[in-house]
């Protein structure tokens, strides 16, 4: 962020406790000292007010980076985001692009209970006019944030408190990461694990566990949900013929549902098993530690879901498929269920262009 503040004097940061307190999660640490109170601005608890203010400043051409302490508090500011930031450009017939970034930690923390654990990507995705970006590594966080700040559109930039302590290499150069490109974090051929943000780290761990069982899972990190990289998504699933979508949301009308139905739309005929959609449970987030643990997707659940996609015979007789689970005792057998051992690469991805 400091680099962007340095680069463009019209970039400013605004939010609760971003300045003197150095940021609730210390993301904005040191920025006040370096750039002063004109550009790093503490606000009262007026989410709608300061967000609408940022939208107005963006209409004038400034580049606000709005921080919500957590995404949960953006609920108070949705009108400014949805009805104005995302629509002014359209409603004005192109006169007023709104270039701004809305940053916040999104998703569950640790025992923060029902009101403080929302994942809201699906809400933002529903409305056209914004990009929705969710990095999962330090390099992406930096590279995507830079791209977001330079983007002429409103960009919803959702971080994850569970990732703030993640260490990783960050390139020395500009390291811009373009918005809208998914990345294969691990190659595989038997099943694609589709995710983003914290869950893509979880998928990597699950893929390791699966590898021990001889299942080579491909891990696709979408990184951006709007725009979604349908090309890479289709290519990967067309290669593996199976997909597990993993997110940390509530299940209904979620990004996971959307990704799932997109996969069907893109590669219906390539699928050998129903897409497994793995989200949090369809409950408010409980406080109790043991319940919260059950709530969230984890390595074991991902492994189990991946196995399910593999544990089914495909019957080509035309009488429809049958669940194969009953006849398969162990996952070692699952290999048999796969067609051509995953070696079949249809040219669908290219066609989809």
């Amino acid at each position: 962020m400091a680099e962007e503040l340095e680069r463009d004097p019209e970039v400013f940061i605004i939010g609760e406790e971003v300045a003197q307190y150095q940021g609730t999660f210390r993301v904005t640490e040191g920025l006040l000292d370096r750039f002063g109170p004109k550009r790093v601005i503490d606000t009262p608890i007026s989410e709608e007010g300061f967000t609408a203010l940022a939208v107005g400043a963006a209409m004038l051409g400034l580049k606000p980076v709005v921080e919500f302490m957590t995404i949960n508090f953006s609920i108070r500011a949705l009108d400014a985001i949805i009805n104005h930031a995302a629509k002014n450009y359209y409603m004005s017939g192109g006169q007023l692009p709104t270039s701004m970034v809305v940053r916040a930690p999104n998703g569950k923390g640790e025992q923060l209970a029902a009101q403080h654990s929302h994942s809201l990507e699906a809400w933002f995705m529903y409305h056209p006019g914004m990009k929705v970006v969710l990095p999962s590594t330090p390099a992406d966080a930096r590279g995507l944030l830079k791209s977001a700040i330079r983007d002429p559109n409103p960009v919803i930039f959702l971080e994850h408190a569970g990732l703030y302590t993640l260490k990783g290499e960050v390139p020395e150069d500009e390291g811009l990461v373009p918005i809208g490109e998914a990345v294969v974090r691990r190659e595989g051929k038997h099943v694609t694990l589709v995710s983003y943000s914290r869950m893509s780290q979880m998928c990597l761990r699950a893929a390791e566990a699966l590898a021990e069982e001889g299942i080579e899972a491909e891990v696709l990190d979408l990184r951006s949900l709007v725009p979604m990289d349908e090309e890479r998504l289709a290519a990967s699933v067309a290669k593996t013929h199976r997909a597990v979508v993993v997110t940390e949301e509530n299940p209904t009308c979620s990004a996971a549902s959307e990704i799932t139905s997109r996969i069907y739309k893109l590669v219906f005929d390539e699928l050998d098993a129903p897409v497994e959609t793995l989200t949090g449970e369809d409950t408010p987030m409980p406080y109790a530690r043991n319940l919260e643990k059950i709530w969230a997707p984890d390595e074991a659940k991902i492994v189990a879901a991946a196995r399910r996609t593999l544990a089914r015979h495909v019957d080509y007789s035309g009488n429809g498929a049958k669940e194969g689970r009953a006849t398969y005792g162990g996952i070692g057998d699952a290999e048999d269920g796969r067609r051509n051992g995953g070696g079949y690469h249809p040219p669908l991805a290219q066609e989809a262009r």
Binding site: F12, P44, G49, V55, A80, G93, N153
Partner: protein, 412 residues
């Protein structure tokens, strides 16, 4: 309402330098006995003495030039105080450039005619969606916006035709927008509630009550950020004062000293709800105090009053970069939208307000002054009519947006 201009050089002695602004004093009008709070400051070479007026009382409106005596307590920059009383010697309208008055008069006429004709077009189903007319409130937008400088900006609610035009937006583009044509200011994609003209510093209408309040503060923030000494005028309704965003924004603007004038166009109703049914404090300007912000009530049916206050307050906001809240008392002659019969008001009430019609009064004054003749009036009306007919023709004949417009301007 008469706006007296007073010279009192003697009074200034001992109060500090002439060129500096005097602190506010409390004034009672000795003649009428009505307690009126005047706020008073010195300008070279005049002292402007505007009046906070409750239009329900209408006292000051009946005073005539030269007969008013005001008793003042003036406090100078040194803190020294002086009591005095002064005869009222002149009025803004005597001081204002006739051509400027004429220009605004004509603008108000254009707005009214534009609204009248769009109402008809709406009923003929040429215009869709909602249509909120500005008829009756013209002096508010025209008076305030007329004192803006280049680079100042305006933001508004959905009742936005008048402000768009007052900012200099073309009526062709406005009418074409209402018709949903691609030649509209928003390429037919916004409609009545979403007129925009970045070129003229008009940052649009919004269909969400109160939304412009927040964005207006953002515009002002931007102006200050760029150190431009420009101001933002932010127009909204009495109903919008009950939204949470009003409170959050007033606080932010005062706390951060943003150069913005919040203008409540108090037309007494939010749809069918009168102010006393929606506000625990019906004198809305009083809420400014809770933010340590300057607030005052203004008679919005009189162009000269509006202009007077606008000159004073806008220059004050520009100089100090401290926000102000104006509650401008006005009235919409028509229903809330073109489809609303407004049965919640009595015909008498509507008629009473019409007797104070802002256009009629300026017209009468121009005639009285001999600035124009009855023939001029006739001619101007005809010109305006022709102009508005032309914009209807323009809208009618313009092409619809092509299908490619559906997906244009979503992401830049």
């Amino acid at each position: 309402m008469q706006l007296p201009v007073i010279e009192f050089p003697n009074t200034l002695k001992g109060l500090g330098q002439r060129s500096e602004r005097l602190k506010i004093g409390v004034v009672r009008n000795g003649r009428t006995g009505l307690p009126q709070k005047f706020r008073c400051f010195a300008r070279e070479p005049d002292i402007i003495l505007p009046v906070i007026l409750n239009p329900a009382v209408e006292g000051p409106a009946r005073r005539s030039p030269g007969r008013t005596v005001a008793r003042l307590t003036l406090t100078g920059p040194t803190g020294a105080r002086r009591r005095t009383h002064l005869p009222v010697k002149g009025f803004l309208k005597d001081r204002m450039d006739t051509n400027e008055v004429l220009r605004i008069y004509r603008q108000m006429l254009v707005i009214r005619r534009f609204e009248d004709r769009s109402d008809i077009a709406y009923k003929l189903n040429k215009i869709g969606g909602y249509l909120h007319l500005y008829i009756g409130q013209e002096a508010v937008a025209c008076g305030l916006i007329s004192v803006l400088e280049k680079g100042d900006v305006v933001i508004d609610s959905y009742r936005d035709h008048g402000h768009f035009i007052a900012c200099g937006g073309g009526i062709n583009e406005a009418m074409a927008e209402l018709y949903g044509k691609v030649t509209g200011c928003s390429r037919g994609k916004g409609g009545s509630m979403h007129l925009f003209s970045k070129e003229h510093g008009f940052y649009g209408g919004s269909g969400i009550v109160g939304a412009g309040i927040g964005m207006g503060a953002g515009l002002a923030f931007g102006l200050k950020y760029r150190e431009e000494k420009k101001v933002c005028l932010c127009f909204f309704g009495d109903g919008a004062c009950q939204t949470g965003l009003f409170h959050e924004t007033m606080n932010l603007a005062a706390l951060w000293e943003l150069p913005i004038v919040f203008i409540i166009e108090n037309n007494q109703y939010a749809m069918g709800t009168s102010v006393d049914r929606s506000s625990s404090e019906p004198e809305l300007y009083k809420r400014a105090a809770g933010y340590q912000m300057h607030g005052e009530r203004v008679d919005g049916m009189d162009l000269f009053t509006v202009r007077e206050v606008a000159e004073r307050v806008i220059s004050q906001v520009r100089e100090t970069s401290k926000p102000a809240l104006l509650e401008v008392m006005t009235y919409r002659y028509r229903g809330h939208g073109a489809a609303d019969g407004a049965k919640y008001r009595t015909p008498e009430e509507v008629e009473k307000w019409k007797t104070r019609d802002p256009i009629g009064r300026v017209e009468a004054w121009l005639l009285e002054q001999g600035a124009i003749t009855e023939q001029d009036v006739e001619r101007i009306h005809q010109e305006v009519h022709a102009e508005v007919e032309e914009c209807l023709r323009f809208a009618e004949e313009s092409p619809l947006p092509g299908e490619e417009e559906l997906y244009a301007h979503i992401l830049a």
